[in-house]
Every structure is written in C-alpha cells, then in structure tokens.
C-alpha cells in the first residue's frame, strides 16, 4: 500500500464522511479499508486514526481485537476452513490438518511464495453443507476427509 495520496483512500474517506467523522465510525472505516486494500497496514491505520482523531493505540487495539481484520496481506489464493460445530464433528479438524501438511503452513499463515493463505472461521453459517471450506470466496461443501485436499486444489487452480 502506498502513501495516503493513493486514490483508494477516497473509498475510506467516503465511509468516514458518511458517518460524520464520528469516532464510532472506526470499525466501519476499518472494514472499508480492508475491502479496498485487502488488509490493514500501519499507514492505513494511521490515516484512519488521524482522520477520526483517535489515539493510535486505540485504533491498533480495535483492529487486533476483531479477527475479521487482517494486518498482513493475504495470499494470492485463500482457503477458509470452517471450524464450526457441525463441520467439526464431521471432520473439519482432520481436513485442516491435511491441508496444513499439504501446504506446509499452519492455520492463519501464508505460504512463502505468497500463493496461498490458509485460514479458519468459527462458523460460516452453512452448516447444512458441513464440512465446508471457502476457496477464493467459492464455497466447497460436503467435503470428506479423503477428497478435501484434492477438491480444494482443484477449486484453487
């Protein structure tokens, strides 16, 4: 992400403006920033802090409290394995384990070449499709432990 002259900052500015630059606009602004930039880096956080007249520590505290916010760039592709109850009892843990082994990274990490991020979600609310993984925003439901890795590889290619 480049300096705040980046045109994309206008998107964030628009959200803040819509909410009257109130301090309560922080979380909505973080959402817009993440949507626009893909993740939240320090220049973006500092920009929001300044515009909303908020302490830096407060902005950083909020951004790290909510797990939806990412402070590091995501990989080119990403897989979100749902770890909700329904998925869990249908083998999500084992599926995650196999994916970790396949790509040599732990949950929440990105491969060294920046190609793939492996993420988990507490529940994506598609319990009827359990176990489910979201591959680049496309849901892949009713996975089995055996075919999950293969299926996910296919979905990512």
């Amino acid at each position: 992400m480049s300096a705040p002259t980046d045109a994309r900052y206008k998107m964030v500015e628009r959200t803040m403006k819509k909410l009257g630059y109130k301090r309560s606009a922080l979380i909505e602004s973080l959402h817009t920033a993440q949507e626009t930039f893909g993740y939240l880096d320090k220049p973006a956080l500092k920009f929001i802090a300044k515009r909303l007249r908020l302490p830096l520590a407060k902005v950083y505290g909020v951004a790290t409290f909510y797990h939806y916010f990412r402070l590091k760039p995501k990989g080119e592709h990403n897989v979100v394995v749902c770890m909700g109850t329904a998925c869990y009892i249908k083998g999500a843990k084992e599926i995650l384990h196999r994916l970790e082994k396949r790509y040599g990274i732990g949950a929440g990490e990105t491969t060294e070449d920046g190609k793939l991020s492996l993420l988990t979600a507490r529940c994506v609310g598609s319990c009827s499709l359990a176990p489910i993984a979201i591959c680049d925003n496309k849901p892949k439901g009713k996975l089995t432990v055996e075919d999950a890795v293969e299926n996910i590889e296919k979905a990512l290619s």
């Binding site: 302490p55 830096l56 520590a57 950083y60 505290g61 790290t64 409290f65």
Partner: protein, 240 residues
C-alpha cells in the same frame, strides 16, 4: 441520559449498618467505614473496570457475585465480603493470575513492594492451584527510563486508564485478545518510538507489579508512589 438525584442510602456490610451516597459503589462505602475488601485492578482516582474479580462480594438474595468496585449500593441490601465461598473463589482467581505468566518474585524489581505478592500473603495462597501456562513475551527496554516486561503483567489496565484519563495521552491500549492480550504503545511500537507517550511515568507508578518499572533499579528496589494519582487529581480540583 437519565439524571438521578443523589440521596443517602442505608444498607449492611457484614452485618454492620452503613450509609453512603446513592451514587457510590460498595467498595467506596466499605472504605469509608474501614471495612477492607481486597482489590487488584482497582485504583483510587481511575475508572473502575471490574476485571480482576478479586473484589467480588456476595449480596443476600442473589446467587450472583458482584465486584465491589463497580457494584452500586442499594437501599437495604446486605453485602458480605468475607465468606468461605468468596475466599475459595479469590484464591482460585489469584492462582490463575499467578499461573498465567511468569511471576518469579526473587528476581523481580518489585519484590517486597508488589501488590500481587501482597495479595497472595493476604489470601494465604502459598502456591498456585492450577498448572502454570507457558505464554512468553518479549521485554521492551527501549525507553531510556522505563522498562515494560509483559511477562509480569496481570492486565489490570491501570496503565491504560491512567494514561488516558489522567495524562490524556492514550499512548497505551490493549492489543489482541484473550490470553494473548498485551498492553502496547501506539501501534505496538517500541516504547522509545511512541509518538503519543509523554514519558511522564504515571503508568509505571500505578502498575501493581514489576511489569512496568524504572531502569537502574535492581531486585526489590522498585518502590512505587501509590498515592500519586489521588494527589494529582486533588491538586487539579483545588486549582479550579
């Protein structure tokens, strides 16, 4: 906002009749009447957060335990501060605090002047009832005068509150959550690089343990100025 008139309320603590202004907390009234309730995250002059749960008290007729620092008084209520149930809970909670990070007193600058240590003496806790956890954090000694050792932090947030409420800098806040929570400067920057810190040192003085200390003191030497904040606030009010 709802405005309420201030009146005087009468109630009982441990069977003793007490009175207090209707907007006061159980802890404030107890202090006025020299009834001791153990506290840890509470500090006179700062807002109350009810986080450490050491000051929990029992209220007759309710199964719930209420922290005395935030619990408002009610006419006719019967408060108990010293029951077996409370003793058991406080000991277990204190055990958890000790087990969470590294509180090895012998090598600590605050040894002998530590509120956590004092609390274990007060509650008669000789060893932690729960297994020690293994979270370890980096020490920040970048500041020329102060050191932050998160391994001795109990997350009472006094430093965060004093910096925001008294100094007005809000240089500290919490980062992450749950067991990973830490107090940080700005965007988790080294203390020396903090844009917001005024180096006033109030956070160090209010820290109950050896987590925040002055440089150059060795084990047992860090004595903190506990009444600093109350004095400061009194001076401010007098000037007005």
């Amino acid at each position: 906002m709802i405005k309420q008139k201030v009146r005087v309320k009468t109630f009982q603590i441990n069977g003793i009749d007490v009175t207090g202004r209707s907007d006061s907390t159980i802890l404030e009234v107890a202090k006025e009447h020299d009834i001791h309730i153990p506290t840890l995250c509470y500090l006179e002059g700062l807002s109350c957060v009810g986080a450490c749960r050491i000051c929990l008290v029992e209220i007759k007729g309710s199964n719930k335990l209420i922290p005395a620092c935030t619990g408002k008084i009610k006419e006719g209520m019967e408060v108990f501060t010293d029951t077996d149930r409370l003793h058991k809970h406080r000991k277990m909670i204190l055990s958890m605090i000790f087990a969470e990070r590294t509180h090895t007193c012998s090598v600590c600058v605050s040894n002998g002047h530590c509120e956590l240590q004092d609390m274990s003496v007060e509650l008669g806790m000789e060893h932690s009832q729960v297994p020690y956890l293994t979270n370890r954090f980096d020490i920040d000694a970048s500041h020329e005068r102060f050191v932050n050792d998160p391994n001795r932090c109990i997350l009472c947030t006094r430093c965060v509150r004093v910096c925001d409420e008294v100094e007005g800098a809000h240089a500290w806040d919490l980062v992450d959550r749950g067991l990973d929570t830490r107090v940080i400067h700005d965007m988790d920057d080294p203390w020396v690089e903090s844009e917001s810190c005024t180096s006033c040192g109030k956070c160090v003085q209010v820290c109950p343990t050896g987590a925040l200390s002055e440089k150059g003191v060795s084990a047992t030497e860090m004595v903190k100025k506990k009444s600093l904040i109350v004095n400061l606030l009194e001076m401010r009010n007098r000037e007005r």
